[in-house]
């Protein structure tokens, strides 16, 4: 038996028929020769040959593969049945394609973001190195840990026993001026060990070595693939060329390959972190640590290893009181690197996945209902075939195969839909979704799609397949030609399906309702700035080689402020080391309040966030002064020891904003000067809209004789903010003061604000979409059920109307049916939702997962929608003409 024969078995069968025919002819002529009459001769020949069909069948089966043959026949039959009902097929396929497509897309995202390893060799050995400092909660950054200081890195790099490599890194804006007009690049400063730990070899040249981080000599620089292509046209001779970064010439020593990122950060250039060992202090917790574990080492052993070195570090470096560092209760906190990259998005993705899974269930319920209705219509056909000898397994198999076929075609369409959806998602690029560039419809996602399709197919076919072939044939055949009443049993299945649909839809709607409430609460939060769409912000860095003296840096910054303020339409201007929610590493230090010893041993008080601003910044941002006054330029130039504090800090320390004025605080160690509080500013949501406002001390941008903030965000309030023309004017105003100053990260405060809301927005969008689809499907389900009941009960309705029931009464009957089913579904749904929404607590903001308003609103919405959905077919019922309905049979 060969495939060729299998494919051509019909041809072979024809041939065999001809051969047998020729046999009969030869035998006939032999018989005639023996003296028979032609007729008798032919009959005798036929008799001798025997059952021709039987012979052909024997040979035919020799040529087939039994299972394939029957399944092939069933599939053909299934396709035929589907083609006979194009509307049914289209509705069912569309529903399934959407359901399966959405699930496949969600799974692809989940898989790529959460399950696929990071794009580094042996990525599971990579860890992020953090500190935990329970003694000073104010220091932790948004991600919930304290970063490493350079001295810590040096200690760990030299003394550890569990890391293959360890490095620290930090993204920073950097200016490159030599190539063309000054431009701000995304740059990352990396220490020795960072690239070695990540383990991605350079495309050209070499990695940084330990020698590159020593000060002195021409510093090295590596290019990112994108920047290399963009600025150097992918020239392979760039190695050895010199580019100017922050006014210092750097030599290009290597190019990283396409797609390389340092953890989650993309960069145009990589620069070595230059560490002057002799000048390192304990403090400076602004670097992200990354390391590769040695074979056999675990996070636990590595934590213990680093904890062992804590005293080495504490005793090895100067700066700050030892007591204070002990009171911080520093402990190492090593996490899998992937956890750092993926962050809290995993929970969102799981919620989205679950949500979309529920949508698929609702879609399946709808299609099952369609199949049930259709199976009812085909009951007589099935019964007839059963009577003619089709086995019950065969009929069950056919129905199952049909639904599986339906689901598989739906799945194929769904894969296409998922592909399109993912491309859309990636191009739309929701902020806050990490590893976007890794998202792909890979083999695992396709397998998932296939399994979901198969599962859906079996699920769909189960109800009709289990029910119909078992019906007593006689009863069904008896019904031929007459519309019989629908069995109670079938009604029960359909009612159950609708109740389930409503319950599931309610869960989803409650989920999206809670997200809407969360979003409302977030929008209601006063962020500490006003009309963000009018705030143009940009980063300006003044490198030391460009302007060395702090005094002149401030003067240049002041000049830029004046030039910007001179642009027509500009209301106010200021600058600060970082604007709220900008995501720049925060600066913090412990503060001491004069005359008020904090803590047991007269050490420094808790750590507070520090900000460095110019006069006018608060006014430009729209941050209200609660008490006192703003800084003046005179105080900046004179380096007066004055500060402003945030309202929550004033209340915490002095009880009220007014009482804070004139009081003195000290920031840092005992040798730091006392500074007078001259103003109290409104609280600002510096860490994001959904995070509590931190206590902040505002310094002057020139915070000491030899200290000045060189990297600043300039803030310009103007109705024209964000327009191209305005940006050009801003650029010119800055370059009029110094043409080598690069301007970077130009955006409006609205962009920053929106980004801070990106995750809740994304979640809201996904849940809202799923909720709407669920509502629509649920309504369609109820509508379909009531419509169908009306059609089936035309006779009964006719009789009722003929016997004097009013139209309103008939309508009410059907609407009541729909509303009762919905209410049962709502009740079940509420119970389910109360159990399930607890899973999304971490996504909510100032809303309880049991928020009564949401539950009531959703329940009312569903019942009303159900009433409308049942009313439409009910009206048709009441319009039945009794005479027609009764005559129809």
């Amino acid at each position: 038996m060969s495939w060729m024969r299998f494919m051509r078995r019909r041809h072979w069968d024809d041939e065999r028929a001809r051969e047998l025919q020729s046999y009969v002819e030869i035998e006939t002529s032999d018989n005639i020769a023996r003296g028979m009459t032609p007729d008798a001769a032919r009959h005798a020949a036929g008799r001798k040959l025997g059952n021709r069909t039987r012979i052909r069948e024997d040979i035919y089966t020799m040529n087939t593969m039994g299972v394939l043959e029957t399944w092939g026949r069933d599939v053909r039959y299934g396709v035929r049945v589907l083609r006979r009902n194009p509307t049914f097929a289209a509705v069912a396929l569309l529903t399934l394609a959407l359901g399966i497509g959405a699930n496949t897309a969600a799974f692809a995202v989940l898989n790529s973001v959460l399950f696929e390893p990071l794009p580094y060799p042996n990525a599971d050995e990579l860890v992020a190195v953090w500190n935990r400092a329970p003694g000073t909660p104010g220091l932790a950054d948004v991600s919930g840990g304290l970063r490493l200081s350079p001295s810590m890195y040096v200690t760990y790099a030299e003394g550890n026993r569990t890391f293959e490599h360890i490095g620290i890194w930090s993204p920073r804006a950097a200016a490159v001026t030599a190539v063309s007009e000054p431009e701000q690049m995304r740059s990352i400063a990396v220490s020795d060990g960072t690239l070695q730990a990540l383990g991605v070899p350079p495309q050209l040249g070499r990695w940084f070595s330990a020698a590159d981080q020593n000060p002195g000599g021409t510093p090295a620089v590596m290019l990112g693939h994108g920047y290399w292509q963009r600025r150097f046209g992918g020239d392979r001779n760039v190695l050895g060329r010199i580019i100017t970064v922050e006014a210092v010439p750097h030599e290009i020593i290597g190019v990283m390959p396409r797609g390389f990122r340092v953890v989650d950060t993309d960069a145009d250039i990589l620069v070595p972190l230059r560490l002057e060992r002799s000048r390192l202090l304990r403090t400076g917790f602004t670097y992200l640590g990354v390391a590769r574990l040695k074979p056999g080492a675990t996070i636990a052993t590595a934590n213990a290893d680093l904890a062992r070195m804590f005293s080495t570090w504490l005793n090895g470096w100067p700066g700050g009181s030892t007591q204070f560092y002990e009171s911080m209760r520093l402990t190492p906190d090593i996490r899998p690197l992937k956890q750092d990259v993926v962050g809290g998005v995993g929970r969102i993705l799981w919620v989205v996945m679950g949500t979309i899974g529920i949508v698929l269930l609702i879609a399946c319920a709808n299609v099952t209902n369609l199949l049930l209705v259709r199976a009812e219509g085909r009951q007589q056909e099935v019964a007839l075939r059963a009577a003619l000898g089709a086995g019950s397994w065969r009929l069950t198999r056919e129905l199952l195969l049909e639904s599986v076929l339906l689901a598989l075609i739906g799945g194929l369409l769904g894969i296409a839909a998922a592909h399109a959806a993912l491309r859309l998602l990636v191009s739309f690029g929701p902020v806050g979704l990490p590893r976007l560039e890794d998202i792909a419809l890979d083999a695992r996602a396709l397998t998932f799609a296939l399994l979901v399709s198969l599962g859906a197919g079996v699920l769909l076919g189960l109800a009709p397949a289990l029910k119909y072939p078992r019906r007593r044939i006689a009863a069904a055949l008896h019904g031929i030609g007459r519309t019989v009443g629908i069995s109670r049993e079938r009604h029960r299945t359909q009612n159950l399906l609708v109740v389930a649909q409503v319950a599931l839809a309610l869960v989803l709607l409650v989920g999206s309702g809670l997200m809407i409430r969360t979003f409302q609460a977030l929008r209601a939060v006063e962020p500490g700035f006003t009309n963000p769409e009018q705030l143009q912000i940009m980063r300006i860095v003044i490198p030391t080689p460009t302007v060395a003296e702090p005094e002149r840096v401030v003067r240049l910054q002041n000049d830029i402020v004046n030039s910007l303020a001179a642009i027509p339409g500009v209301v106010s201007v200021g600058y600060v080391n970082s604007m709220p929610m900008e995501g720049l590493p925060p600066s913090s230090d412990p503060i001491t309040v004069e005359g008020r010893p904090v803590g047991p041993s007269d050490g420094p008080g808790p750590v507070r966030r520090l900000k460095y601003l110019s006069p006018g910044l608060l006014a430009a941002s729209g941050t209200r002064l609660v008490a006192g006054r703003d800084l003046t330029w005179a105080e900046v130039y004179d380096v007066r020891p004055v500060v402003l504090v945030s309202e929550n800090l004033a209340r915490e320390v002095w009880g009220s904003p007014a009482d804070a004025l004139g009081k003195r605080i000290r920031v840092g160690g005992p040798q730091a000067p006392w500074r007078e509080v001259i103003g109290v500013a409104q609280d600002v949501r510096d860490n994001g809209v959904d995070a509590p406002a931190p206590a902040i001390v505002y310094f002057s941008a020139r915070f000491s004789r030899d200290g000045v903030t060189r990297a600043t965000t300039f803030v310009v309030r103007s109705p024209q903010a964000g327009t191209a023309d305005f940006l050009r004017q801003v650029q010119e105003a800055i370059w009029a003061n110094n043409p080598t100053l690069p301007v970077g990260a130009t955006q409006t405060m609205q962009d920053v604000y929106a980004r801070s809301l990106a995750r809740p927005t994304f979640t809201l969008l996904m849940l809202g979409l799923a909720g709407s689809v669920a509502l629509a499907l649920g309504v369609i389900g109820i509508y379909g059920l009531i419509s169908y009941t009306v059609t089936q009960r035309r006779r009964e309705i006719g009789i009722r109307l003929a016997l004097g029931a009013s139209q309103a009464e008939v309508r009410r009957r059907f609407v009541r049916h729909g509303v009762i089913l919905t209410s049962v579904g709502v009740a079940l749904g509420v119970i389910t939702a109360m159990a399930v929404t607890r899973l999304m607590t971490s996504l909510l903001f100032e809303v309880s997962p049991l928020d009564p308003l949401t539950y009531v609103a959703v329940a009312v919405l569903l019942v009303m929608a159900a009433a409308v959905a049942s009313y439409v077919p009910a009206r048709r019922a009441s319009a039945v003409q009794p005479v027609e309905a009764l005559a129809a049979d």
């Binding site: 030869i26 012979i55 020799m62």
Partner: protein, 118 residues
Amino acid sequence: MPTRDSPMHSELLQGTLDMLVLHTLVLGAAHGHAIAHAIARQSDAVLQVEHGSLYPALHRLDDRGWITSFWGPSENNRKAKYYRLTPEGRKQVGAQAARGQQLVHAIGRILEPVTAQP
């Protein structure tokens, strides 16, 4: 226990028919009808080939590549499907014949005592 003693209508031993067909074809190509006749004639009408078995047998042999078929004119000028041995089939004839002899021998040995003392 054969219900009819002669000619033998009962099923031929497995593989025997294939062997007989191959042997018939050694003399040259033949169509199904002729093969059946030839077997009957050569066995002095003891072996009546069932057509229900002959054609599947031919199909089977064709499948194994031992015989091949072509359409040609029959003795009385009708189209008939002819079979002939392939080189592979010709090799098989020898092997099958040896096997056949063994079989006959073996059956003979089993039947001997019964026929010796009636």
